[in-house]
């Protein structure tokens, strides 16, 4: 429950501001000793709960402690009648700047919400075009492990199959670019999605790896479409019938 609350602080300055507001402290005259203690205590609590979150707060905690120490030291009287510099000055300056941007953030946030209540011509298309590729990417990313396990299974099969069939040792060179062309040609001819297993049937290890890399590259450029979930360690490929945008438009 602490965790949720601590996430509400958008950073070390925000937390500092929280203590200042809560205690109704004058920003220009921060009781640094007390605030430093409170801040440190909060950071310790945070550290116990979530180290990652705490890291960014530790610097400010250290800064506060340093300022506290400097406040405790007797400051030499200024010789030329000038005010000696307040050890808090720089922190206060930063805090004041942050307060302004924090407020500006709130203001443009309101502006944004107001604007989102207005719809322009082409807004739907715009939105789909923008979201389309990103959604594809998410699906793709989630399936990399599936792809890898399919590669693993295919390689396993080449070892078994080649042990039986191939007796002559011929060094075969397979280029990824060639495999891309081959894949496109092979899949354009096919009337339905072809599984990677079928494609890799009794091929050499080099061939399977080069073809797999070709598949990855073609997927990245969306020249191939991927079908997963046919078998646990396999996937099927086909030539996409429509561009991603058209897909999105059709699906919507």
């Amino acid at each position: 429950m602490h965790r949720v609350h601590l996430r509400d602080f958008e950073g070390p300055l925000d937390l500092l501001l929280f203590f200042i507001r809560r205690d109704e402290v004058d920003v220009y005259d921060i009781p640094i000793a007390r605030i430093a203690d409170e801040y440190l205590e909060a950071v310790r609590l945070m550290q116990r709960l979530d180290l990652d979150e705490a890291a960014e707060f530790i610097y400010t905690a250290a800064l506060l402690i340093q300022i506290k120490a400097r406040m405790l030291l007797p400051r030499p009287p200024a010789e030329d009648g000038e005010e000696p510099e307040d050890p808090r000055a720089e922190l206060v300056q930063r805090l004041l700047e942050y307060i302004q941007y924090r407020e500006a953030g709130e203001q443009i946030g309101e502006q944004f919400e107001e604007r989102q209540r207005r719809f322009t011509r082409g807004a739907a298309n715009d939105e789909r075009a923008r979201l389309g590729p990103a959604e594809d990417e998410v699906t793709y990313r989630a399936s990399v492990f599936d792809l890898l396990s399919a590669l693993g299974a295919a390689l396993e099969r080449t070892v078994q199959a080649s042990a039986v069939i191939h007796h002559d040792v011929v060094r075969e060179t397979v280029h990824v670019d060639e495999q891309k062309d081959w894949l496109i040609a092979r899949l354009t001819d096919a009337s339905e999605p072809v599984t990677f297993r079928a494609l890799a049937e009794s091929r050499t290890k080099e061939w399977v790896i080069a073809t797999f890399l070709a598949v990855l590259d073609l997927l990245r450029h969306q020249r191939l479409a991927l079908r997963l979930g046919i078998e646990p360690e396999d996937f099927a490929l086909e030539i996409p019938t429509a561009t991603p945008h058209e897909h999105a438009a059709l699906a919507a």
Binding site: E10, D23, E41, Y98, R102, Q107, Q116, T120
Partner: protein
Amino acid sequence: MEPVSPDRVSDAPDDRFDQSVEALIFASDVPLRDEDVARAIGEVTGADTTLEDIVAAVERLNAAYRATGRAFRVEQWGGGYRLATIPEQAGVVRALFEQEAEKRLSRSLLETLAVIAYKQPVTKPEIEHVRGVGADYALRQLMERGFVDVVGRADAIGRPLLYGTTDRFLDQFGLGDLSDLPTPREVEEILADPRFSRERAQLLAEWAADNQPPPPPADSSEPVGTRLRVVVSSDSPPTPSEADDADG
């Protein structure tokens, strides 16, 4: 904006011009700039169109829309004119687009965006200095949403990238150009704002609620304290002894 004079005949030159402006803005699905309007009309009619002509036409169009209860207005966002539905109809349009909820931006994104918008062009370290936190994630998010882009490189050591806001930012925040950004209030004004203390009270309540320890057993003599020294009724100013600490 002045209301339309109702006595104009429908084939008056003004009407034709207004219709052209209206047609152009209607047909465009991106913000339509003044010069595009002038160029298109000029190509067909050979007439010169001034900025004032367009502004006046837009005002007349909006007045007519308002007078006849139309559900859209011409707005000047992102450096050009757009037709936009009125906020009162947000509900139905949103339902059409099947948007589940109102789109919102997190506070950290808004703060980062504010720093970039007001300070641009600005480097990542400068952004991070203002907020005291790393800006990688927020920057990536903002760039993905098309609100922010790299606008150049600073002349400093290492030539760090400079970031700035995009036209899409202006459009999506309902701004004509950067001068339409709300003027930031002076710090004194913010600090004196009653909202500041209202928010303080709210923060306090939330903080206290979240840090409330479970009720102690009846026989416990332990004080019900929290580690964070939350005092629910701390409306009193800091005690003098505590304040003195600071000046120590």
